[in-house]
């Protein structure tokens, strides 16, 4: 376990950021369970993929920077990559689902653009 030399306020700040980020991810997963149709559900996990991910990575960068005594921005790489990739995956998935629904003539399928 690291962080023995950390000031108390820094530990609380790191923990608060991580717990709030995890709470966002949990809310997103809860939405995945509770919402009724696929087109509603596809919105829910983005909560964890954007805000939850950002808060946890900021917390991780803060902790590493405080422990090592220099600026460590390594984790921002994950953040940049996920910010670029999440919209692409969910757009492709939603379009595939809309294509299937239209093809099968499911009621409530989104109209052709």
């Amino acid at each position: 376990m690291s962080g023995a030399e950390l000031p108390l306020w820094a530990a609380w700040l790191v923990v608060a950021l991580a717990v709030v980020g995890a709470a966002f991810a949990l809310t997103g997963a809860l939405g995945l369970i509770r919402l009724r149709t696929f087109y509603e559900r596809v919105h829910a996990p983005t909560l964890g993929a954007t805000l939850g991910m950002a808060l946890i990575l900021i917390s991780s960068m803060l902790l590493l920077s405080l422990i090592e005594g220099r600026l460590v921005l390594r984790d921002a790489l994950i953040g940049v990559f996920l910010t670029v990739s999440t919209p692409v995956t969910l757009l492709l998935l939603a379009r595939a689902a809309a294509h299937r629904d239209r093809h099968e003539g499911t009621p409530g399928a989104p109209p052709e653009v």
Partner: protein
């Protein structure tokens, strides 16, 4: 309370919440009802797993988990795109 205690309990709580989120996503992946719901559940599952690895790396204070999280993010992205393309066209590469 010392800083070590705060970090240990707080990050443990964050990890527990992420594992619960993974369990909910796994439930959606197993339950369906359709293929797109399962893919969405898998996407959420790997994303929350990656966040749990990052938090575990913070708890241990080791930099080793960063690479694992980065690679998991990339592989998950590729997997979801391939599955979505498969749903759309019935083949991954045309």
């Amino acid at each position: 309370m010392s800083a070590t205690t705060v970090l240990d309990w707080g990050l443990g709580l964050a990890q527990g919440m992420l594992v619960l989120a993974m369990a909910l996503a796994a439930w959606r992946m197993l339950r369906g009802p359709r293929a797109q719901d399962r893919i969405l559940g898998l996407d959420t599952l790997y994303l929350n797993g990656m966040l749990a690895i990052v938090v575990h790396g913070m708890r241990t204070g080791s930099g080793l988990y960063f690479e694992a999280a980065l690679i998991l993010g990339m592989i998950g992205f590729t997997a979801t795109v391939a599955l979505a393309k498969f749903l759309m066209q019935g083949e991954v590469i045309q």
